[in-house]
């Protein structure tokens, strides 16, 4: 019996889908909170993103997982889209483009993991 090589596409597609769903559900509100409300001192308590609070959040098991999922899956999602749009702007979506796009996503994931693990539990 001949063993057929399995496609790796479903893995990337799965990461794309999960990231897309997270971005659609939480993306806009996260931008509003971290980029607008907290810096401008609106609505939320003034110390919402203070160092002790953010450190505690990043050391909490759930908080750590949330930060990791947001950063890693957003980038996997976006890089998958960018990779598949390159052809439309005249860049051949070959192996090199694939390595660059998914490479950026992989490196981002690893950096986020190392930083989060380094913060401890």
């Amino acid at each position: 019996m001949k063993i057929r090589k399995r496609s790796n596409a479903p893995i990337f597609w799965g990461l794309f889908g999960a990231g897309g769903m997270l971005a659609a559900l939480f993306g806009p509100m996260l931008v509003i909170i971290t980029g607008l409300l907290v810096p401008m001192g609106l609505l939320l308590p003034a110390d919402t993103m203070s160092h002790p609070k953010m450190l505690a959040f990043a050391q909490n098991f759930i908080g750590k997982g949330f930060i990791f999922a947001i950063i890693a899956l957003f980038v996997w999602h976006a890089m998958h889209r960018i990779y598949h749009s390159l052809h439309e702007i005249g860049i051949h979506a070959g192996l090199f483009a694939k390595l660059v796009c998914y490479g950026i996503a992989l490196i981002t994931t690893l950096i986020a993991a190392v930083l989060l693990l380094g913060l401890g539990f």
Binding site: D47, I71, I111, L115
Partner: protein, 122 residues
């Protein structure tokens, strides 16, 4: 075949929708940098919080917001094409109902997140 999409408004819209992925990346990198500053300690973190208050950062986040909001909206708008058909009482749920359901989930999730952050911070 590069640039074929410029001839049809539908495909121009498609490319705008695809391009919003760049802003999703930019925001994720912003958060990653914040995480890096957090790992460096309190002084570095406070410096990052100050940087977020700069007019440049506020404008950048307004742009992120518009782009990511559009990104989210088109994600739900394409649900009838990207999601498996939902059957209710033997009939396929109408596309506009599916889109409305997705958008509602988006609004509920956003408000829940805001409420949760409020609760944790308070």
């Amino acid at each position: 075949m590069a640039g074929w999409w410029k001839k049809n408004p539908f495909y121009v819209e498609y490319m705008v929708h695809e391009a919003t992925a760049l802003f999703v990346t930019a925001y994720a990198f912003t958060l990653l940098f914040g995480l890096f500053r957090l790992a460096q300690g309190e002084v570095a973190w406070n410096g990052w919080l100050e940087a977020l208050k700069s007019p440049l950062s506020i404008v950048a986040h307004l742009v992120f917001l518009v782009a990511i909001f559009y990104h989210a909206f088109t994600w739900f708008k394409l649900f009838p094409l990207t999601m498996p058909p939902i059957m209710v009482g033997g009939k396929r749920l109408a596309p506009n109902v599916v889109v409305a359901g997705g958008c509602t989930a988006g609004v509920v999730a956003a408000l829940a997140l805001l409420g949760l952050v409020w609760r944790i911070a308070a």
